[in-house]
Every structure is written in C-alpha cells, then in structure tokens.
C-alpha cells in the first residue's frame, strides 16, 4: 500500500516539475520505460555486489592487511590460493561443513518428507498444525543459535533435563556444546529443528502437484501402496525435493550466524564451518588478502550450485 501511494506521487511532485516530467515520461517508448524501471536495480546490485566482488578478486592476489593499511601491499600472484588449497585447517573446516551439510539435510529430508506425506492425508486441523510446524524457519538463525545455548546448558538446560528424564543419564554429565563428540551433532540438531519445515513445505507442494488420476490408474493396475510410492509419488516429488535439498545445501554450506552463536566454532575449531574460518581470518587475524582468496573460492562453489538451483527452479516452474 505504502508503495502504491509513493509511485503515484512520483510523477506529480511540484506543479512546475509536473508538466515537464509527465510530458517526458508520457512520450517514452516502452523500451525506454523498461530500461528506466530495470536500471536502478541493476545499478544497486553492481555497486553493492559486483564492484566489491571485483575488489575482492584483486585483493586475493595481494598480501594486504586491512588493519595495517599503511604497509604497502605487494602482489603475491596465486600464492594465497595455493596456500589455502594445501592448508590442512581449511580441509578440516571443509570436512566439518560437509558433515554438517550432509547430516542436517538427510534428517531434514527424512522428517520433512515424512511430515509432508502425513499432512497430505488432509486430516482435520492439518492446516493449523502445519502453521505451527512452520514457525521455526522464519526466526532469525542468530537468535535461534543464541537461545539454544540456553537449552543446551548442562544441568539447568531444558534439553539436558529432557534427555536425562528419558534415559536416566545425569544431566550434568554431558555438554552438547562443550563435548568434542557432541558439538558437531548440536549444530545438526538445531539446524534440523529449524529447517525441517522448509523441506516439508516444498515436499507438500510436490505431493499436491500430483494429479489424482495417476493414483487411480495405478490402483486399476493393482499396484501396491509401496509400488505406488516408488514409481509415482517419489519421481513426481523429486524435482521439488531437489529444489529443497539444493537450497538447504547452499545455505548450510555458507552457514555462519546460527553456528557462530551456538558454538562459535568450538570446542577449539571442531565446529568451525568455512564461513567461521573466513570470519576469523578476515576480521580477527586481518589476513585480508588471504581471506579474499578464500571468499572467491567459496563464491565460485556457491555460484556453481546456484546455477544448478536455478535450472531446477525453472523446471519446477513449468509444471
């Protein structure tokens, strides 16, 4: 609503300007209007995204340190890139990230798809429960990470208490965030809690896109429920599922906010995802050149995945 009145106000302005502006705009060709409408967005994106990207590329070939700007930086060629690709810490962070991406997505797909199948049976009250289930995914990942640290407190935390209530383990005997064996699972657990609804919602759309007559035909052919699931439901939902998996994979690959507040990469650097390594290098150690190179590597990976994502997106769109 707000925008409508504003756009309305755009050509009016003051009386004297009005005639000239309207006259000019009214006489514009469609082509000119199209460019007039699209250009501001493109310019903004070039200024805030592409220009910095180019700057990052140029810094990635230097040993620049942003906290010591007075020291002349020199061109180091591809040294930063070689250093990163042979750095065992980076490979450890990549492994941490891969563990996190793999397990969180596996759990989200199993739970999300399962829930979607159940909700698709359209029992009474299903839309109410769906809305309740959706709530976590709209929250701020940072705030979620922060309040889960409270739930994960040993002894006083609700999570430890519930676990001890059902298993009899002493609630102060384990720390989800502090234990080496448990911390990688703490971030998987919180991510699953938060993003299962995302996968569920997209799977539900996939299930609803399957026309009834296909199941009726399968029934005529006396296909078992199991057979129907594997040869009708799953293939038909697959593009939607891929959409959800790809998006979550991209998002979790670059995960920063939730993990930063939940474990801050700890204990040690055990839950340090690549984004946290990058933050530490760029804003704590101020290895600007080196971290620019890492940023570019991350960006290339994400850009490749985004390319595939858009292809799947267009495929789903056509249906």
């Amino acid at each position: 609503m707000k925008d409508r009145t504003n756009v309305n106000a755009l050509p009016t302005g003051t009386a004297s300007v009005r005639v000239g502006l309207i006259g000019r705009l009214a006489g514009m060709s469609d082509r000119a209007i199209a460019w007039l409408f699209i250009t501001p967005t493109i310019v903004l994106l070039l200024a805030i995204n592409i220009f910095p990207l180019i700057w990052t590329i140029s810094m990635s070939f230097s040993n620049y340190k942003a906290n010591m700007g007075w020291v002349a930086d020199k061109n180091v060629g591809i040294e930063n890139y070689l250093e990163i690709l042979t750095d065992p810490d980076i490979w450890a962070a990549m492994q941490t990230t891969a563990h996190f991406v793999f397990w969180s997505i596996l759990l989200e797909v199993l739970l999300g798809f399962g829930l979607a199948l159940l909700i698709n049976r359209k029992f009474r009250g299903h839309s109410f429960w769906t809305t309740v289930i959706l709530l976590p995914m709209m929250l701020s990942p940072a705030v979620v990470g922060n309040f889960w640290t409270f739930l994960f407190q040993p002894q006083i935390g609700l999570f430890n208490y519930v676990v001890s209530f059902f298993t009899g383990v002493d609630p102060s005997s384990f720390q989800m965030i502090g234990d080496v064996a448990l911390a990688p699972w703490a971030i998987v657990l919180v991510d699953t809690w938060m993003w299962t609804p995302y996968v569920m919602l997209i799977c539900l759309a996939g299930l609803r896109s399957i026309p009834d007559y296909i199941y009726e035909a399968a029934e005529v052919d006396r296909a078992s429920a199991w057979r129907q699931f594997w040869s009708v439901t799953l293939p038909m939902v697959m593009p939607f599922l891929m959409l959800a998996i790809l998006f979550r994979a991209i998002e979790n690959f670059k995960m920063f906010d939730m993990v930063n507040l939940l474990t801050n990469g700890g204990p040690g650097s055990l839950t340090e995802t690549v984004s946290i390594t990058l933050k530490r290098a760029a804003f704590e150690k101020w290895h600007t050149g080196w971290s620019s190179a890492l940023a570019i590597i991350l960006f290339v990976a994400v850009f490749g995945a985004a390319n595939i994502y858009v292809k799947v997106l267009n495929k789903v769109k056509q249906r």
Binding site: D3, I38, T131, V132, L134, V143, F150, L151, D257
Partner: protein, 317 residues
C-alpha cells in the same frame, strides 16, 4: 472428492490413517514448539527460577527479565538502599529486592529502534525498486532477460562473510561503517533480488488485457502501470514487503561485522544482554520474546504465500 461412495478412493486416506497422521503430526508440532514456549516462560521467571534445577515449568511469574532488559542497574550498599525513598514502580521494587538500583535506561530501546528503521527503510526501497524492475521484466521484451534474472538471483546466494570483506573496506572509505544508511543500502541490495523474482511471478499472473484496455482508453504506459497493475499486485507487493522485512529484521552476519553501536540492530545485540556475572537469562529471553513475536505474527499472516516466498515465486501451490 464428490460423495460418500468415493470414500474408499485411493486418493482419499482412510479414517484410521488420518487419525494416526494427526497424532504423529500433532506430536511433532508440540515437540517443535517447546523451545519457543520455553523461551517465553523463561522471560517470565525470576533470575533464580530461570537457572533452577530441575527446570521449573511453573514458577511465580515475574517481569524482572523485562525490567532488566530495559534498564541499567547498579549494586548498592544496604545502608544506601535504606536511605532511599520508597520505590515507586514495579521495576524499581524488584530491582531493590535484589540489592540494586535502576541507574538509567538500557541500550535496548535504541537497538529496537535501529531494527525498525533499517528494516522498514530497506524494505521500502527493495520493494519500490523490485516492483519497477519486475514490471519491466514481466511486460517488456528485455534483451538477455534470463541472464539478467539469473544475475539478480545469484547475488542473493553470495556468502555474507565473503561480501562483508570488501563492503567493510568500501564503507570505511566512504565513512558509512555503522550508519543506518549503509545498512539500509546493503539490505536493500540483498532483498531487491528476492523482490524482483517474487514480484515478477505476481505481475505475470495479472492479465495483460487490463493494461491494454487502459492503453486503448488513452492512458500512457506509466498511467496504466499505476492505475491497473499496481492495485492488482497489491497483495503480492504486501507479501513481498513482509518477506523483506523479516529478512532485514533477522539478519545477523552483516550487522555484527559492520555495526558496533549507532546502527546496531537487535540480532547482534541480544547475545550481549548480560547481567552481573554472566548471561541474564530472563532478560535474554525477554529480548528474544519481544524480537520473535512480530515474526510469528507475520508468519501466520503470510502462511498462504510462504511457499512462494521460499521458492522465489516458482512454486505457486
């Protein structure tokens, strides 16, 4: 399904499987909502109750958390406290009971205000620019349209930390670090890509005939856009605006790296709500509750458009 005779149709689940599904889904929903309920309950506990073992589900309700969230307190000697006049308000009373006095307002109102200013500012700009661009893409033959659309969406996928390095240097150079304008522009750039995609979907759905009729009636292209397209896209524009607002409200990575005080929003601030000797959990919970409640309301209002929103307008149900 049409009548009772189709009750055993394959596409309609049996009563028993429906009941079972309802129980399982209801159970999941309850488990998933417990963490949120727990934060809300904690915000209404006294500091002692919030760290009690075993955790207390029911406790004497207390607004201490909210008092601590909005005030800055200091510990005083009992003699000094005894010399003070009787406490006037609720917050002053509970603070005195803990041997402290209210020394002034906290930073919380300022941070909330920053979240509101940056959230609404960037949402307004992103939706304004996004509506124009979406109309351009939807109605006109734009050369390289698919490439431009992909370019626009790909900016949304950039890892925030990777973008933050040059943005930090750029803003330092321009004097825009820790300013409202800097954050508004940054969030606008992230949101505009989303807004263009979502709004292109919405505008594509509006039949062109309305505009063509308006053009025949002698309206200019621009008038036709304002008088026929905008009113029909109002729902879509509103939904897009809410999504943008939620993003800006929730954003943490840019905020924590590029702001420190003047323009700091709530997400980087909440973890640093600390009392004497560590985190003041009721105050953190109170801050979280106040921060999260608007999002929950928006989510419920948006539920019909959620699917569209999370798939950039591709899946329309």
């Amino acid at each position: 399904m049409s009548g009772k005779n189709t009750a055993h149709s394959v596409v309609e689940a049996s009563e028993r499987s429906k009941t079972l599904s309802a129980i399982l889904v209801g159970f999941y929903a309850l488990v998933t909502i417990i963490p949120l309920m727990w934060i809300f309950l904690t915000s209404l506990k006294s500091p002692a109750d919030s760290v009690a073992y075993p955790p207390k589900v029911i406790s004497q309700p207390s607004l201490t958390g909210y008092c601590n969230l909005f005030t800055f307190q200091s510990r005083q000697t009992p003699e000094y406290l005894a010399s003070l006049p009787a406490p006037t308000g609720y917050c002053e009373r509970v603070t005195r009971e803990r041997g402290m006095v209210i020394a002034g307002p906290s930073k919380t109102p300022g941070r909330l205000l920053n979240s509101v200013i940056i959230g609404f500012g960037s949402t307004f700009l992103a939706v304004f620019l996004g509506t124009l661009a979406a109309y351009g893409f939807s109605r006109f033959k734009v050369p390289l349209k698919d490439d431009l659309m992909f370019f626009i969406l790909s900016t949304r996928f950039m890892p925030p930390i990777a973008v933050a390095i040059p943005i930090y240097l750029m803003y330092r150079q321009l004097g825009m670090t820790d300013t409202h304008l800097g954050m508004i522009l940054l969030y606008t750039a992230v949101n505009v890509s989303f807004a263009v995609w979502l709004l292109t979907g919405f505008i594509d759905e509006i039949p062109r005939e309305y505009e063509e009729a308006a053009l025949v009636d002698g309206y200019t292209r621009l008038q036709a856009f304002v008088k026929t397209v905008l009113p029909q896209a109002a729902t879509g524009i509103a939904a897009t605006a809410v999504f943008c607002l939620i993003y800006a409200w929730n954003e943490y990575a840019f905020a924590v790296l590029l702001t420190s005080g003047v323009a700091q929003t709530m997400p980087p601030f909440i973890p640093f709500i600390i009392g004497e000797g560590g985190q003041d959990w009721p105050a953190v919970a109170a801050g979280t509750t106040l921060f999260v409640v608007p999002i929950l309301c928006f989510t419920i209002a948006l539920r019909k458009h959620l699917l569209r929103g999370i798939t950039f307008g591709a899946v329309r149900k």
